[in-house]
Subunit: 198 residues, 2 copies
């Protein structure tokens, strides 16, 4: 028997300060998938420019008011947490905002996740548990792979897997723009921080 040397501290994940500063200058509503994608792709790009993480942005929007309820950018390096992909951060923020683990709970409006890049295996699973009803993707997984990112373990038929769970998927909204942010990151020497390959 012994006292463990370090108690386990709470996990804390904070959005970079520039996100709030940027968002307060933006429209309050985002009426189209294209407008929502433009926002999250801009977040991805600003995340590179401010040096706060990888080239991925996401947002959870409520579909009745078309407002952003949970922004997310990739914070893996800055938060020292491999969990902190943009989609995960957006889901965390949105569920915290609505005070429910289920964004599809009775009494809540429907929610959409917009992500600048197709989800990896982890984020795909996270979407299936989140209560999100619609997913909109910009760049393809193959665009991320083309610059060196890994998609992780993920079913080939991932769109069907979500649709079988009542979650609609729309691909290739603003793909060119979202994909160019991935390329910009790597061209500027950004770290590609996949899991170790063994």
């Amino acid at each position: 028997m012994s006292i463990h040397p370090t108690p386990f501290q709470p996990f804390r994940l904070e959005l970079p300060g520039w996100i709030t500063e940027y968002l307060v200058q933006q429209p309050e509503t985002y009426p189209t998938p294209e407008a929502r994608m433009e926002l999250v792709t801009r977040l991805a790009q600003l995340n590179i420019e401010y040096g706060t993480g990888g080239p991925f942005g996401a947002g959870v929007f409520r579909l009745d008011t078309q407002q952003l309820v949970g922004p997310g950018v990739n914070l893996v390096l800055s938060s020292k947490s491999s969990i902190a992909h943009a989609e995960i951060v957006a889901i965390m923020m949105a569920q915290q905002a609505v005070r429910s683990h289920d964004l599809g709970a009775i009494g809540l409006p429907s929610h959409e996740l917009v992500t600048s890049c197709e989800p990896c295996g982890m984020c795909l699973g996270a979407i299936s548990w989140s209560g999100i009803r619609q997913v909109v993707c910009g760049a393809r997984g193959s665009d991320a792979e083309a610059v060196g990112f890994d998609e992780g373990p993920k079913p080939v038929n991932w769109v069907t897997e979500l649709e079988q769970r009542g979650i609609t998927v729309t691909l290739d909204i603003g793909r060119t723009n979202a994909s160019s942010v991935l390329q910009q990151y790597v061209q500027n020497g950004g770290e590609v921080y996949n899991g170790r390959q063994g």
Copy 2:
């Protein structure tokens, strides 16, 4: 243009108080996979008894000293976050403890994730990004499905997917015990909180 009504608060995830109280009374090292599984299965059971979450426990251990560096239990309902599966919590805690998003980084000892139940699709992806080198599972996914939990979108060949990334997988350590905790949860009326089925 308008000021958004609510700024986005930091996400905070705290382990239930009973975990530290319990762990300080336990041995400082866990020399075998069976001993490590016994601990995480006990955490799963205590999580039910204290009413702090679902019937899943996990832990990240460093393999040189055989110490627990990140405990985890399912905190989905209590934290109002669908991300808070036991494996995710354990990885968050361990990466925070070692101050790296990569538990396999140069200069760190190898780390093992022990989980009372085979990972779902989200946790499978999370494992692949975490830098963990070994995974040890208790109950099978089919045991969780038998009491109503969904595994989420997950490749059928998930063990191969991890092994291709240099992560070894050991199944069925303490399966009977871990599986009985799942049954106990459901028999006692515990909520099965899958994602909405559409």
